[in-house]
């Protein structure tokens, strides 16, 4: 087993791991925030603005339309954006690390 912090190659350094995790976690948290804000806001709006949320839109109430129908595509968009960026991030990391090795 390798000794901590004494490894010569860049992949096994603490700095590389920290950067790797920070990049991925930042992206994950940004995407999660969009989702959590919506999850917190909808019950709160129902609580504070019941009349506004009960207005009719195409026969649905506004809040029913949001929760029963629109919420699904909203989450698909977040997940699509996350996958694209996350895969791009991984490719960049792999490339950077391998460049570092050949130097």
């Amino acid at each position: 087993m390798k000794e901590p912090n004494s490894s010569p190659d860049p992949i096994h350094s603490d700095a590389f791991l920290a950067r790797l995790m920070r990049g991925q976690l930042k992206l994950s948290i940004a995407c999660a925030l969009c989702f959590v804000v919506a999850l917190v806001a909808l019950p709160l709006l129902n609580y504070l603005q019941p009349e506004f949320m009960a207005q009719r839109v195409f026969g649905f109430t506004l809040t029913w339309l949001i929760l029963g129908v629109l919420f699904f595509p909203f989450v698909w968009i977040i997940s699509f954006v996350f996958i694209q960026r996350s895969i791009a991030l991984e490719d960049a990391e792999a490339k950077a690390a391998q460049d570092g090795l050949t130097k």
């Binding site: 087993m1 019950p43 996958i83 895969i87």
Partner: protein, 640 residues
């Protein structure tokens, strides 16, 4: 073939059973079992059995995960709950689908890269601790059994529905009939349905293993989507659409309910919630506890004080439910094990996205059954147990028979029955595989007999499937009075307080120690489990007490169940306590995570020595080839 056709053409009343429903349901069972047998010949090694050789493509895997995930709760329970309680129940389908986002963002990719068969494998590998495996494996079984109970209720409800016209009284099969006041009735006993379906699936799983299941699950996803969409489109084109039926329910701002032209609405029975409560947030589902206390309150001041708390408590209930479902999805053992069948971490992420789309499309439809069911089959509000709103998906298509489409009504009801079969069969199979794997792979293979050969482990898997299947049947017969969807929600709450914190923290925090992880998971998970069990025990007892009409018998019943009586009284006295026990996620998840952090800080000296390498394996892209390096390093050391 001729006899089959003759049977199909016969009048339903002649047999007491609708031949189309039997035909579609039996076909579903036959195809499922047939595919299991067919692929049994193809799965040879233990690896095939446990994780399908890790070679399943994204499309197949996404369909299979979706097929496994869409359970009786999704297919029957969501519709039943929307009909019974209205808007609040929509949180279930939305969070069932969207909870995958947390799984995708934080867990799916790293977990796949780490490459272990099961969650207990991960627990052991991440902390180099065989002891932790033993602790972690318990929760596969806890969560699994909580999740199998509603599937069994789905099975019992569906079979009781299919055979509702059968008259077994007086014959030698009389013991299979349902009993009321000790007298046999027309129809089939709920428990018999549970036993039949449980036995068929158990047999299927012990023969086919997981490779068979991947194929069957993928097929069943598409069957379920077909079975939920086609009948509702046909039905809506005849009786009116989703939004039209919703528009027929008046909101608190509207003075009269004005049904759009051509929309029929039957009168609601007294037990049904009123329009204003049903269509608006914070309805019956979330205010039940406070309502019970208001009913029992003696003075006007007490009543007023409780009424003032009603809405804030409802908001609390809603948030707790959301936390349970969203975090719970990311901690379901039978779903997580499927991520190991992806070839790499990128495929695991892609699969998760496709799962969200596949199940999201599905989840738009069950509430439609609930909404139309409220207009057209309100009589279900009055029934209880397996005859209540949980069967609205099966019942609704038969309405077409009364509208000059008798054949169409039968066929569509047959299709929804087939979908229900697919739903509880696929989820139960998946649970059975992961629970039997836990028993065979973890408890037998690692703890009881580490020296066992692969053949012995395969044999152990089959025996485990049998044991788990029988236990699930036994538990399933006891929960007829609980709502399907509600029970699944509780399994999610336990997963949210145990596996979710474990996975989330182990993947993202280097400072975690085995003791921290174990303490947090055990305390969080067990306290959620206890709180939920308390509410379920008292609810089942209360439902049984309701069946007794004589005062003397009722008094005797409660004296025999002092704990349930005491709990029932405690809930009425403290509605907030009831809400926090029924939906424990809001305190159990933070409790679990806090304990993990505090205990890990206290035991920081025991952080695994090679934690940096483990974190690299979890997070570095596969292209760097760190995984192989890690395995070699461990083999070089003698490894584990």
């Amino acid at each position: 073939m001729h006899t089959l056709l003759a049977f199909l053409a016969a009048e339903p009343a002649a047999h007491g059973i609708d031949p189309w429903i039997v035909f579609f349901s039996l076909s579903t069972v036959a195809i499922t079992v047939g595919m299991g047998f067919w692929s049994a010949g193809k799965s040879k090694s233990a690896g095939d059995f446990f994780v399908a050789g890790r070679s399943v493509s994204v499309g197949w895997n996404a369909s299979a995960i979706s097929g496994e995930y869409l359970s009786a709760a999704s297919f029957m329970g969501v519709a039943g709950m929307v009909m019974a309680t209205g808007y609040d129940a929509l949180w279930y389908p939305v969070c069932y689908a969207c909870g995958y986002l947390f799984l995708l963002l934080f867990i799916a990719g790293p977990l796949r890269r780490f490459g272990a068969y099961t969650i207990p494998d991960f627990a052991e590998g991440r902390y180099d601790s065989p002891l932790f495996r033993k602790i972690a494996v318990c929760f596969v079984l806890f969560i699994g059994f909580f999740y199998t109970m509603p599937q069994m209720k789905g099975a019992g409800t569906t079979l009781a529905y299919i055979f509702q016209g059968v008259d077994l009284r007086g014959g030698w099969l009389e013991f299979l009939a349902p009993f009321a006041n000790d007298k046999p009735q027309v129809g089939l006993n709920y428990a018999v349905g549970v036993a039949i379906v449980g036995a068929v699936i158990t047999l299927n799983v012990s023969l086919g293993g997981m490779k068979g299941i991947t194929l069957v699950q993928a097929f069943q996803y598409w069957l379920k989507v077909f079975a939920i969409t086609v009948p509702i489109f046909v039905l809506a084109s005849i009786v009116g659409h989703y939004q039209q039926h919703l528009a027929a329910n008046k909101t608190a701002q509207e003075t009269v309910a004005t049904a759009p032209a051509g929309i029929e609405r039957k009168a609601l029975p007294a037990k049904a919630p009123q329009d204003e409560q049903w269509i608006a947030p914070f309805g019956k589902l979330t205010t039940k506890a406070v309502d019970a206390s208001v009913k029992a309150a003696k003075t006007q001041e007490e009543k007023a004080a409780l009424e003032a708390n009603k809405k804030p408590y409802s908001l609390l209930y809603t948030y707790s439910l959301i936390i349970a479902l969203v975090c719970g999805t990311a901690g379901l053992p039978h779903i997580l094990v499927r991520f190991y069948t992806n070839p790499d971490g990128v495929a695991a992420k892609r699969t998760t996205m496709w799962v969200m789309i596949l199940i999201g499309v599905f989840y738009v439809f069950p509430p439609v059954y609930g909404v139309i069911g409220r207009s057209l089959t309100p009589e279900l509000y009055e029934a209880v147990g397996s005859k209540g709103t949980d069967k609205v998906v099966l019942e609704l298509p038969t309405l077409l028979a009364g509208r000059d489409h008798p054949l169409l009504g039968s066929i569509l009801s047959g299709i929804t029955c087939a979908g229900a079969f697919a739903a509880f069969m696929s989820t139960f199979s998946g649970l059975l595989v992961s629970m039997s794997s836990a028993l065979a792979h973890d408890i037998y293979g690692r703890i009881l007999k580490p020296s066992s050969s692969p053949e012995q482990r395969l044999k152990a898997f089959k025996w485990s499937a049998l044991i788990v299947g029988l236990t699930a049947i036994g538990l399933g017969t006891m929960v007829e009075s609980l709502e399907i969807n509600f029970m699944v929600g509780q399994a999610f709450a336990i997963a949210a307080a145990s596996y979710f914190p474990l996975l989330f923290m182990s993947v993202w925090w280097r400072g975690m120690t085995m003791r921290g992880a174990a303490t947090g998971m055990l305390v969080g998970g067990l306290s959620a489990l206890t709180a939920i069990s308390l509410t379920s025990v008292s609810d089942v007892a209360a439902a049984n007490a309701k069946k007794l009409t004589e005062a003397a018998k009722l008094a005797e019943f409660w004296s025999e169940h002092p704990i349930a009586k005491w709990l029932g009284d405690a809930w009425v006295a403290h509605p907030l306590l009831r809400i926090l026990c029924e939906q424990p996620a809001i305190w159990a998840v933070p409790l679990s995570i806090t304990l993990m952090i505090v205990v890990s800080k206290m035991t920081a000296a025991t952080i695994p020595a090679d934690v940096r390498m483990k974190m690299l394996v979890l997070h570095a892209p596969e292209a760097l080839g760190l995984k192989q390096e890690y395995i070699k390093e461990h083999e070089g050391l003698g490894g584990h």
